[in-house]
Symmetry: C2
Subunit: 517 residues, 2 copies
């Protein structure tokens, strides 16, 4: 049997691409629904791709940002790595680092390659680049059922580690949109956001200890449920995006698979009222597992509504006790804020509405490929903001985005053919929320990258000017750098730079993300 090959430009495997008929039907639907897009083009086949350098292994995609997908579609791989290394153990990671340091090469740790922010793209100038692909370090090495923790190698993918944990009746329950391909090491390096809308919103909260290989030795923290001994070593590695060391493995907090689940949809006429309901729930101490608010356009886009109402998806789950009482309590403030509650579904832990929604959620990256083929530019922006500024922030960003996308796409900001901008809240906190904006616009064929760059810059400005973060869970990478630099405290940047210089004096680890090369 031929080995299954990942698409060289988009999401998933080659055999998961839509057929010509499916694409044509999708194109017709897109045109009918959005008033733009619908001219199907074909990607430049892998065989016609020409790559720059010589010491080369064919890349299976170097990032999954919109601009990566578009460039891949056109066969433009401007920054291939010069070498791809597949270490089988830590000594091989060390060997690669030593060799690269001697050669003056850069090293970019590579997990699933699902970065949407240029986090693993060898955009490092003339310096030769080694892509350090951790796919062979994919094992759950140890399970501690008493502490509900597991030691897992950095290259384990979402499905891979869940399969291995399932044998023990356990689960990490970390389901970012990249779940299917992304890896534990990548999640830790980028502070990935996951399944839970409250409490453990980021992988940060699931990390018990980390083991990383730095050019100056092994960084391994103790397994501790909590500590107050100096600044947290783990919290310095979490989000370090490969610049301090190569994460080799981690102890993470797992849990029994949920036995009790209850979910409900609540519709609201008014988005701000819906957000107020979400605020009340986020501040109630009820800690729903799911608390996702889709505005009317977003609900329509994901097939969860007809575009007339905002939809709040609420879910509670537990391995310990029925959670119906929690749902009853959470629905009260939702109703007080004008919400209409539909059917409340209780399930024994199998498939349910939340599960179905999750399936659609995980399919979204595939959909983007269809959009690219059909001439639709699609992009997302995600951030976080405190509740006191939420309403104005949301209005400002929606408006700025609509205008910026229209300007960059040569279409009117309103009316037929105007860009679609929608919003959902992916995670919520007692003190604020994480809004996630989706943009759809007619693509400027062949000029998508420039078009995207212009939109990205305008929306990012708006997010930062209005007090948000440049990313709640997509990481900084190379694409978010200008705004990240404005956001972070200057002395912190200096401290991080000094820390990196100490551990990586050659500056070889993923140069350009977080800090200048």
């Amino acid at each position: 049997m031929a080995e299954r090959r990942l698409k060289h430009w988009g999401w998933g495997y080659e055999d998961q691409a839509p057929t010509a008929t499916q694409l044509r039907e999708a194109a017709e639907g897109i045109r009918a629904r959005f008033g733009f897009g619908g001219e199907v083009e074909k990607p430049v086949p892998l065989e016609e791709v020409e790559l720059r350098a010589s010491r080369l292994k064919r890349p299976s995609g170097l990032g999954k940002a919109y601009r990566d997908v578009v460039r891949g579609f056109y066969g433009r791989f401007e920054n291939p790595p010069d070498l791809v290394a597949f270490p089988r153990d830590e000594s091989e990671i060390e060997a690669v680092l030593s060799w690269a340091e001697a050669e003056g090469a850069a090293v970019i740790p590579f997990g699933g390659g699902t970065s949407v922010v240029g986090g693993v793209e060898p955009r490092v100038g003339e310096r030769p680049v080694v892509s350090l692909d951790l796919r062979r370090l994919d094992r759950v090495l140890e399970v501690d059922p008493a502490s509900l923790a597991a030691r897992i190698q950095a290259g384990a993918t979402g499905p891979g580690l869940e399969d291995q944990l399932r044998e023990h009746g356990l689960t990490l329950r970390h389901f970012p949109q990249s779940f299917e391909y992304a890896t534990l090491g990548g999640w830790i390096a980028t502070r990935a956001g996951g399944h839970f809308a409250t409490l453990e919103t980021h992988i940060d909260d699931l990390v018990e200890s980390v083991r990383a290989i730095t050019p100056r030795g092994t960084w391994e923290s103790r397994r501790l449920p909590g500590s107050g001994a100096g600044p947290s070593p783990d919290r310095m590695l979490v989000g370090s995006e490969g610049i301090l060391g190569v994460i080799a493995e981690a102890w993470v907090r797992v849990r029994p698979r949920p036995r009790f689940k209850v979910s409900a949809g609540v519709t609201f006429k008014d988005f701000d009222e819906a957000a107020e309901a979400v605020r009340a729930i986020a501040q109630s101490g009820l800690h729903p597992a799911n608390c996702r608010l889709l505005d009317a356009a977003e609900a329509e886009l994901t097939g969860a509504g007809d575009g007339s109402a905002n939809l709040l998806i609420l879910g509670f789950e537990s391995a310990d006790h029925p959670v119906d009482h929690w749902m009853d309590l959470a629905l009260a403030p939702a109703r007080e804020h004008g919400g209409s509650t539909g059917e409340v579904r209780t399930s024994g832990g199998g498939d349910d509405a939340v599960g179905a929604w999750r399936g659609a959620f995980l399919l979204a990256p595939y959909l983007r490929d269809t959009f690219v083929a059909c001439g639709v530019l699609s992009e997302t922006f995600e951030t976080a903001i405190t509740w006191d500024r939420f309403e104005e922030f949301h209005a400002t960003v929606m408006e700025t985005t609509r205008r910026a996308v229209a300007a960059a796409s040569g279409v009117p900001a309103d009316g037929p053919g105007a860009p679609r901008v929608s919003c959902r809240l992916t995670h919520v906190y007692p003190d604020g929320a994480a809004p996630y904006f989706t943009v759809l616009a007619p693509a400027i064929r062949g000029g998508e990258v420039e078009q995207w760059d212009e939109i990205k810059a305008a929306v990012s400005e708006a997010l930062i000017d209005a007090g948000g973060t440049i990313t709640h869970h997509h990481a900084v990478g190379r694409d978010h750098r200008p705004w990240y630099d404005r956001q972070r405290p200057a002395p912190f940047a200096a401290a991080l730079r000094a820390a990196k210089a100490e551990l990586d004096p050659a500056g070889m680890l993923n140069p350009g993300v977080l800090l200048d090369p």
Copy 2:
């Protein structure tokens, strides 16, 4: 009216010291109960204290570790600061830092002076020292009721900030044992542990953003409910113990005062069974506000039992909904593990059993002063460990401590007159617990510091050898350094050292804590 003066050697104000009669009665009680101690001595009065240097303001105690209290009792202030500065605003903090840098002086940020680990003691060799006392920065500057957050100056004490928040119907609900005197800035600098036994166990979790003055500029993070933009700047400052900058203020997460409370005591014959019950509750997702397990000796010591049974104090609280259902669910595993439940008390938010216990808890530091006067050495050790290692860890540390204390105190390890070692769990996690050990032994009069040093070293070795952390919430300071150095990842230490050198090239900020001077 004369200004109220803090005791120069122990806890609280001078007028809170026990009378001669009270002390005599305490001494009799101590002798009867422990079989050691009971010879009352008087502290060296402040008027007889001789201090080293000339540029001096009288210190009101430089730390509240057992060794500080004993040295103060004997009038030994070997390391007074050369100057105490009381900045009224940030520009005065900056001025002190500039002046000190030019003078070659060290600067030690000072909050309530409640450190029990030598965190604020000017033990820095020949270098002159400025104690930067932040007591004048004691205001709640801003309240954001929508986001449930408040901007508070670093020098605000527990009661001070609670008084100001109460006007808004809000509370931080952070009640470390140092609550009465300690400050927000001190809590953030030392990762203080607070009221909540689960979820927000440390001040870390209550911090929304921090503003600190470093020698290289102001470090201010954005107010964000969550972020994924690089390593968290706040998490680098939290626990930095004054070595990177002077924390001036912070936005912290506050909450409405609880309206619903329920508490219960559960007794267990067997400590390990009780710990298993606690583990089940910690892994249930019920998140009790209080889940404190006292072993039989600890229960007796705090007047909460007769020494025959282990006591679990369980509490739930909410400003949103009644919490009786939570208690019902949590008591089930407690009973399954052999627990006998007493009366379950529901209260409308006023005083209750938990409140009463908290009162006794906050009085403990005063009791230590009485012990010192009566010839009893008292000390505590606290740590954290995962559940898989808990039972063996607990047994090993108890045994090691008993033997070490006996050896250092010249008494038998068992039988009459033997040292008392007891344990409680102060905070619990799904993956482990934070055990807190209390030691009482006959003091070697005049040799208490050496006796304490010997005990401290032996127990700390045991904690680190067995895989724990040298501190769960008392911080590192100077006293925990040897074991902290063994615990932390070497590359992390190098990174922290480089970060400090970048921000504080003169090495003037609290030299000796966390890193070598």
